[in-house]
Amino acid sequence: MQTAVAFSQVSRHFGPVRAVDGVDLKIAEGEFFAMLGPSGSGKTTCLRLIAGFEQPTAGHIEIFGETAEGVPPYRRNVNTVFQDYALFPHLSVADNVAYGPMIRGVAKAERMKAAEEALALVQLPGYGARQPGQLSGGQRQRVALARALVNKPKVLLLDEPLGALDLKLREQMQEELKTLQRSLGITFVFVTHDQGEALSMADRVAVFNEGKIMQVGAPEEIYRAPRSRFVADFVGSSNILPPETVERFAGKRAWASLRPESIRLATAGGHAATVLGHSYLGAATRLSVDMDGQRLTLLLPAGATVPATGSQAAIEWNGDDLHLMEDGQ
């Protein structure tokens, strides 16, 4: 499979700020790729480097084998769905969607037909005559998507496109985006700070922190085997154990991550711990315990007996679930 986007040692500095710092990255054609990270971690700058709104300070970017440096945004076969949608307020929905074809000189009848098809694709058939101001947030989001897709881009860039939507709508759009991506086969590069969104939608996830990529991999891999404390902590929640504690269980000095759902109450044996408190989450109950001065959080499945606060409990986990990390950062 061809490489859609390749970064080699790409940096983008704004004065003393290293927004992107020596990033290596390969995104395959047809992949749904998520860039995940806290705000200011460089993920959006990476997206803007692909779109052409930023130029790298150092390093090399290729889009489908062609050098991207110096190529202006309007000559890249890449389209963006902006965080604030950026619909043109003076144009109707149809004219917004037909903007790309209009610029390319496509005849009016033909581009209006293309716009209508794109609107149907995003479940907004017949909305062409409306003004962007008359649409709801979710509908604007779809128009922005149609406006990008009508150009048949090789790579679609999505900059936190679901951030402004409420939870229900967001979950629905996640499903739709995924379906759309599978059926169109277009490479999607998706920026988000929501780890749940990244895990549920993407084929592969790159976790960003302070301008660097901390880890790239399939969602299960990132979740099961975080390479560093940052990834373990940012993707899902985790118990992070210091080397001294880990040595007692694994016989090796290293930082380790232990997911709360991997810990259970032991029926026989196990490690002694004091229950510090619990909170009811619906599908599970979260319990926090103290094990020889080490605070641990564990998730008890619904229906399990919850030990009282202050009582003694025995806990255990499978040796495999204690994931040793190479990186103490």
């Binding site: 965080q83 950026a86 619909l87 043109f88 307020p89 790309g100 610029i103 150009n151």
Partner: protein, 271 residues
Amino acid sequence: MRSDRNGKAPLGLKIAAAGGLLFLHLPILLIFVYAFTTEDKSYQWPPPGLTLKWLAVTWNRPDVWQALGLSVRVAAISTALALVLGTLCAAAVSRTKFFGRETVSLLVILPIALPGIITGIALRSAFSLADIPYSFWTIVLGHATFCVVVVYNNAVARFRRTSGSLIEASMDLGADGFQTFRHVVLPNIGTALLAGGMLAFALSFDEVIVTTFTAGQQTTLPIWMLEELVRPRQRPVTNVVAMVVVLVTFLPILAAYYLTRDGDRIAGSGK
């Protein structure tokens, strides 16, 4: 909040408001009335009789036409100059960050805060220092100093209210700089430019102070009126011209007000 609820103001306040408005606008009405008086040596109240003959007299005075023509040309060219320079400056200040941006912004606005007489004297000494003869173009330059400010202020306010990602979106969809300007920027700042341009035109059209310092032998309409007032001959002609000036300046300002009134929402950033 009693007055808010029943919408009734005390009688004294009403009288004061009416008095204030009359004080502002009654003198203008007087000007109009004198345009139709039969007495042409002095302003006599009440007018001894009413006549329309001054309209015809004014129409046949070549000096009026000359002054009017000059004023319209100066205003039109100053406005055109201001539209280009003001828009470019506003785009630079609101779209990019550069060293000294705030200073540039302040320096651009300064001419309108400066008394006209200072601008006038400064330009006059600059022109004579540079050996530039007074001409049509020196008047235009003088007027452009404050016309640019009006356009700049209008454009900068609209640029600030227009989401920056619109321009990026247009570029992203394949439009180069010129196409983006034509299809996205201009439609979004168009009414602001029209309003700024009309205000600039009106300002230039009735400008006296800067013009007296930057004009040579030429007479713009306001200066012609000033000269005419000290000469007691066919006085109502001046009043007829005054009516025309009021119409020519008032209509664009009114139009500018209506054009920018509804532009309060932020274009392109709504969610």
